[in-house]
Amino acid sequence: MNGAPHVMAPCRWARPVLGACVSLLACHPRPAPDPPPRPWPEPAVAADHWAVHRPEPTPAAPPAVASILAAELDRHFERFAAVQTDPPVYYMAYELVRTQQLWIEAEDGVLLTDDTSDERLLDVDVRVGSPALDNSHAIGGTVGTGQGLGSGAPVALGDAQLSLAQAIWAETEAQVRNAVTAYAEIRAEQELRATDDDPPPADFSVRHPAKRFVEVPPLDDEAARAAAIPMVRAVSTVLADSPAVLESRVTFELVRTTRVLVDTEGSRTGDGGVRARIILEVHGQADDGMALSRAATFEGHVVADLPPLTTLRSAAKTLREELEALRKAPLAEPYTGPALLDGRSAAVFFHEIVGHRLEGHRQKIDEEGQTLADKVGKRIFPWFLDIQDDPTIARLGDVPLWGHYVLDDEGVYAEPVSLVERGRLRTFLLSRSPVGPFVKSNGHGRREPGHPVVARQGNLIVRARRRLPHHELRDELVAEIRRQKKPYGLWIREAESGYTLTDRSGPQAFKVNPTLVYRVFADGRPDELIRGADLVGTPLAAFETIRAAGDRFVVFNGMCGAESGWVPVSAVSPAILLETIEIERAAHERDRPPLLPPPPEAGP
């Protein structure tokens, strides 16, 4: 009935979901010739060594709870048919998600959080009407909760049959009411809309039911905890060791998710995964009041993927030094001109400006900008770029990709999808909501429990058919600066977050928040770090200015938030050279730094 209690409203640091759309706390790019290189290996892959790992999932026996879910599903579906609901219930699904989590945080050697949690949430999807028009249809330009899809109800941790049955009954009853109410509104709205020449796309596609259960690795959270506590203490001590650091945090997170899905088409699926992550964050303030931050994250599918203590200490030291440098850096000015988006910032760029715009449901909603809806077959990028989304890949070389999964949240097998080939748009990311001529899901229906499924990214991979070594890319940048007679160009080394606006009522724009930006001078002066820059633009214009790509591909892993909640994703990209980008001044807090110096003997 209620959520877990809380003694107090914690002033807990936001979990790593900075930014309105995406938290891109990624791994660092490879060292660059100027400024000094970073001392820890970043998850980069040389283009010539594109080792793709698609593990063969280990089959597992269906868990006992699958039978309970299936029995209740059949019972309720038959009942709806027997009472002849109006409109008819034509499809139902139950998805049970168990999340086990370990969360440890420290600051300056001091333990702040040491929590484990274990919960099971039930999502009930009820569809009424018909596949042509059902309650999943967007209302008022939005797809959200309350339409009978996605419930996120806490249920018993064990397989107590009566307890589960009662919860399923209550949620199913609530969802059919929501579905019927939403459908009535949708139907009325449809009758009032002017029709296009093309027939409207259906709301739900056909597919063959899947029957597959996949083993999910177990979680030894006690061992992980025992190792993580001294690690976060030690690394957080290094991280805080500077007067420039006002606040800092080292977080260790280990999450195991298992999912079981049953539906009225006969699908019976189960999969899941483990995610491990270490997050380092530092926060400071410039003398003019601007809030400054630096962060680094390290992700893995298992704890063993995470770097050793020496690497983490080095990372902490570098972040601290970067923060100190940012404090002294001059402010960015509004600017247009050439820029080199390196590693992670390029990945963020593609995630925001193209990834979200290729999510299928956005092509169907009139209130959405539908920037790319009519561009299938047309060139939207330079010929040398390909973009894929492939959730089947678990690793590229040694680098884990967080957007890996076997089955999506509609029980459809994840598929590699070639979105852009030689610069031409080929298709979209699809759930079981058809888009134009694309009537079949490609296994990208995803959600966080409690939300309806929509098409989301998994592992977005940008490849370049024509690549330049990094130093040549820099040479191209300098040449472009000269050609455009600009006082400088920009090298954007790092970006942590961003968002994109796809609603037609506003500008179809994006904003990426770079945190390490350098002015690059054509006359050979050293690169100059600047602060307070936001990268902005509109997608089509941005696509057109891509001039070259590098030969090393950097991976970012993060959590992406959209209509269906937060899901783990990755983006892989080479560095890219843009002929023109626009920088605007970032929000600039004006509060003075602390009025008193730090307390005596409180520093490192």
Binding site: M1, N2, G3, A4, P5, H6, V7, M8, A9, P10, C11, R12, E72, H76, R79, F80, V83, E107, D108, G109, V110, L111, L112, T113, D114, D115, S117, D118, E119, P154, V155, A156, L157, G158, A160, L162, S163, L164, A165, Q166, A167, W169, A170, T172, E173, V176, R177, D241, L246, E247, D591, P594, L595, L596, P598, P599, E601, A602, G603, P604
Partner: protein, 600 residues
Amino acid sequence: MSRRARAVAVAVVAFGLGPADASGRPAEAPSERARDATAREVAAASDELARGLSGLRLPSAPAPYFTVARWIRAQVWSIAASYGGLVRDLHERQQVATVRVRVGAPERDDAGMLGADDTTVRFDPALETDPAYLRRRVWLAQDASFRHAARAYARKEGMLARLQVDVPIPDLGPPPPSRNDLSGPPPPPQVDREGLAQAARAASERFAARPEVDNGEVHVAIITDHFVTVTSEGAAFDRARTRALVAVVADMQAPDGMRVDHGRALHLATVPAADEAFERTLNELTDRVLQELVALAEAPRIDEAYDGPLLFEPEAAAQLLGVLVPSQASGTPPPLSESGRVLELEPAWQQRLGKIVMPPFVSLIDDPAADPFGGYPIDAEGFAPERLRLVDRGRLTSLLMTRTPGPVLRRSNGHARLTPALDVGTQISNLVLQAHARRRSRRALEGELLRRAREDGYDYAYVLESLRDDVLLGPPPRDSAGMMAGTGKVPLPLPARLWRIDRNGRRTLVRGAMLAPVAMRVLRRIRATGTRPVTLHLRLPVHARGPADHQLGVDAALSHTVDVTVTSPALIIDGFELLVERGEHERPPLLIHPLRQDAG
């Protein structure tokens, strides 16, 4: 990093010793080591508060003159079971701290504005004591709170310049007696988590015996906490508490579609032992809630409004007093806004000191020593709680005072209470209604009730056995029971168990009634009392201005409340109005509940 230990001379007083643990043995005293650790944190915080007081300055803002830092470390156990399945079983350590800076002077500072709570800054201290870390966090929080206070002061100055203020009320009263009493946290209690979970699960299986019931849960929640307060005046004190809640909540749909809910709780100051006695108690509680819920759903609805006399059984009377008195007998003045004092938020009794507020045969006492459940050694601001004769034979003689002066009473009487969430506000301790006359036996009370009802033109009357426990249940599960507000009147919880009694004395449980908001004047119309007072253990929020603030729900019932008792006999009171609840209800479910499949 060096963390220099600071030697502090402290007067160790054994405050805050928890009551017996689950084994029944007296709780262990805090260790010397624990006390020293607390003392070191206190010293670090004190030093930082002093540094802030002397050093935080802005050119045009007044200087800080008082700062208070509080921190709490707690362990939380939360178990929830439903129909034989364990839905939640967690154990967490949680901690939070607050710092509040006041600028100006006691006669006028930044406080008392609508939204003034924003000047309090919250942060997370370390899980374990760490003086250096705490000091650093206090440094940043104090800086932020000072800025908020400076802004608030400027805004307040602007407002006051526009208003005519006849008699300015100081913003902060005199300090408490000097106090430096630290015990340190006691060792954590033994909690049989597995046993309690099993007991909750087993109790929840009993729902199967009541297929009419739609939903239900059994909850066991325990919070053990240790909180520390340090002020820039040199006060430092701590307290440890153990609080537990065992509750059963359930809901169902009545045949006419009305969704009804019900719940009962055991409020404990000890960790329950997962033994046979506990299991038996939990099972009985579960059965009682289910039986009462089903009876409520099957009860007829009232069909017309009623404004005759009501007989409040002792439980309902105590609940009524718990809703009305703490908020309306508070001495904290209403906040200031651009239009002056927000008089809608002024406690009704605040301007009535010395006046008649209850009948001359009734007195109202708040006695911290009367019951350890509601009692406490010192309040949240360091004052020893005083026994108050709030109402003396009908005349209002005192109010619940914190250190915030009121228009008449200017000093604290030790009634500032602190929740685990670090909310601070006025609240009772152990409230007792004493009847000096007009005490009637049960039979006589009913007779008088019916007689008075007849005088009002009714050949029946109503007996209120209990009110809905909003703290436990949260908001009602239907829109038609939405709370009404009235200018100067206090909204009331829904009746939980309301009986219609006809002239032959026959009682019928009814539902679908709402109590109209009342003015505090209604307490002047207590006509008679029973002879057997009952003491109710309650958990009530601080800062409550009305019942809406009470609708916390079971998961916040410990974290946002303090422990109180209310003792009252049955009361016959005129002046209430029972209204007929109106509204459309949801259709019966299409699906068949798993326990009703055979019948379906």
